[in-house]
């Protein structure tokens, strides 16, 4: 089975993020990493391939040239090859433009199953999978916490506000997995060494037949108008435990008559 996993290179979670006041975009110049929510998507695709005993796991991403670093991490986990859409024109793409570009790559690749992670660690959106599914005209199951793929069908158990749903759809389909679905593996040394030799293709939006005014800011339908400070909030106390933290909590509770 051919499985495509859409992944994103995001600013490193351990580095303080900032929005560039000029472009009003997230500053992506610092250290980047594979979106943590995408590692579960890669893991799930690898597990399906391993269960089947054959197949191909293709990584699909859009981002700057440096996104290849993140793609190599996912290749080191065990994915077979990577396609990165990278050119200056795609920078600043919103959901409308990004879903269009990813759908163009996926149309070209024709996978049986497309897997997304739960959300972008930078945008906090959990929307791309359903948008891409609509462009591909395929069924979608999101927030999947348990996935079964068999007999040309995909079955996902997922949590909603009201309990657990079990949803089934025929392949080809799109799923977005929850971050609770699995524990992603760490790349082995052998995997890391082998990743460099795996096929890594960089294409432009134009190569995919997507016109320049349909990508980037020109192809986007949302805009950032202004950046503001958050509303003021009360001062929080933060202490390091030096052995007396439990005492301090108990005192804090007693002062507020909660004990």
């Amino acid at each position: 089975m051919k499985i495509a996993v859409c992944v994103k290179h995001v600013p490193d979670a351990t580095v303080t993020k900032r929005i560039d006041p000029q472009t009003k975009r997230l500053d992506r110049s610092g250290e980047g990493a594979l979106n943590q929510f995408d590692t579960q998507a890669v893991e799930e695709a690898l597990q399906i391939k391993e269960r089947d005993g054959d197949g191909e796991v293709i990584l699909v991403s859009m981002g700057p040239e440096r996104a290849l670093d993140s793609l190599r991490k996912a290749l080191a986990m065990g994915a077979d090859r990577a396609v990165l859409v990278s050119d200056e024109q795609v920078a600043g793409s919103d959901l409308v433009a990004t879903s269009r570009v990813l759908a163009a790559v996926l149309e070209r690749e024709g996978p049986d199953l497309v897997v997304f992670g739960q959300q972008g660690g930078d945008s906090d959106g959990a929307v791309l999978g359903a948008a891409v599914a609509d462009r591909l005209r395929r069924p979608v199951i999101s927030q999947v916490a348990e996935l079964e793929v068999a007999d040309g069908k995909v079955k996902g158990k997922r949590q909603t506000e009201f309990g657990y749903d079990v949803i089934e759809a025929p392949l080809p389909a799109v799923v977005a997995v929850s971050d609770a679905i699995n524990e992603p593996r760490y790349p082995s040394l052998k995997g890391i060494m082998g990743a460099k030799k795996k096929p890594q293709e960089t294409v432009s939006a134009g190569d995919l037949g997507v016109e320049a005014d349909n990508v980037g800011e020109a192809g986007s339908r949302t805009s950032v108008v202004a950046l503001n400070d958050p509303p003021a909030r009360g001062d929080a106390l933060k202490i390091e435990d030096d052995g007396s933290a439990a005492e301090k909590i108990a005192d804090f509770l007693a002062e507020r008559k909660l004990l």
Binding site: L95, V96, A130, G163, I181, T222, V225
Partner: protein, 317 residues
């Protein structure tokens, strides 16, 4: 005209969606509710009490299960046929998929995680907290239709009375939209104690390290006379029952005291407990977002701190 997607479950319009409806009515434009389902006409009429002058209803067996894709078809039909320029959603598992699919279908801008929507010189501007709520971004749309999704629990419904005029929608469904089927719906994994009425909640997350460590949380909750809650991550991992889950999916709680043990404080969790009185967080990661909204944060090992605290509570009470 602004249309508000009114999600419903077991014969009830959802509070979050009705809150958004009330917000939309304040903006002064024509506001319509949209109710999609099977056998939902009576339900649609109720929306009039919460600010909808008009309610569009698509009543079709294809809309019986709460699956997103047939709803995208229905809303796309509504936007194209009825002069709707803005569609608003209260965030949920279902509405995120509906809004995203609709954005792609109509090439319409979608702004999500909004906490407010205002009119600025006639333009709609959304307020969106970003980067762990450290910056508030004003977001806009470069054209119509505009799609917006609000953070759960942002607006409370206001009952204004009034009756809505019902208008029937007869959408055509795309072949791919009806391929997914719901085999089981809203199945609760197991019953547990209700946490919604508890004055004190001690909650555990992934940082507990193992399901066995929930015993630390349980002991502290017992000492304080409170209930035990859990995050989505540990519930999905099978460590604790669904009935105890706090967050966007799960329960919304507002106890007098909320003690978060090994919880990072992702926004999905925050929205379920931000109404709590006093919040205490214990986490070994000093950068955990929970410290941003805890009244008292302790950076430390919960295996050390929690049992000691339990002992102190038992001694002092």
């Amino acid at each position: 005209m602004i249309a508000v997607f009114l999600e419903h479950h077991e014969g009830e319009l959802q509070k979050g969606a009705l809150g958004v409806l009330g917000k939309a009515a304040q903006l002064g434009d024509d506001v319509a509710g949209v109710v999609l389902g099977s056998g939902v006409k009576d339900l649609a009429a109720q929306a009039g009490r919460f600010g909808a002058a008009r309610v569009f209803v698509a009543d079709d067996p294809a809309l019986e299960a709460p699956l997103p894709q047939p709803r995208v078809d229905a809303l796309a039909h509504l936007v194209r046929e009825e002069g709707v320029d803005t569609v608003l959603f209260a965030a949920s598992v279902l509405s995120a998929d509906v809004a995203a699919g609709l954005a792609a279908r109509l090439d319409a801008g979608l702004n999500w995680d909004l906490v407010d929507l205002v009119k600025d010189n006639g333009n709609l501007v959304g307020k969106r907290p970003a980067l762990e709520d450290t910056v508030y971004v004003d977001v806009g749309w470069t054209g119509e239709p505009r799609l917006a999704m609000f953070r759960p629990g942002t607006f409370d419904p206001t009952e204004t009375g009034g009756e809505a005029e019902l208008s029937d929608l007869s959408p055509q469904f795309e072949d791919f939209s009806t391929q997914a089927t719901m085999l089981e719906q809203a199945h609760a994994e197991s019953e547990g104690p209700s946490i919604e009425d508890a004055d004190v909640i001690v909650a555990g997350g992934r940082g507990l390290g193992s399901p066995e460590n929930f015993s630390l949380v349980e002991a502290l909750a017992k000492a304080l006379g409170g209930a035990v809650a859990a995050t989505r991550a540990v519930v999905d991992a099978g460590w604790y029952p669904y009935a105890t889950q706090v967050g966007q999916t799960g329960k919304t709680v507002s106890p007098k005291l909320y003690i978060a043990c090994g919880i990072s404080g992702a926004i999905q969790h925050k929205v379920g407990m931000q109404g709590s009185g006093v919040v205490i967080a214990i986490n070994k990661d000093p950068n955990a977002p929970i410290f941003e909204f805890a009244d008292l944060g302790v950076v430390g090992d919960l295996n050390e701190v929690v049992p000691k605290l339990t002992q102190l509570v038992e001694q002092r009470k």
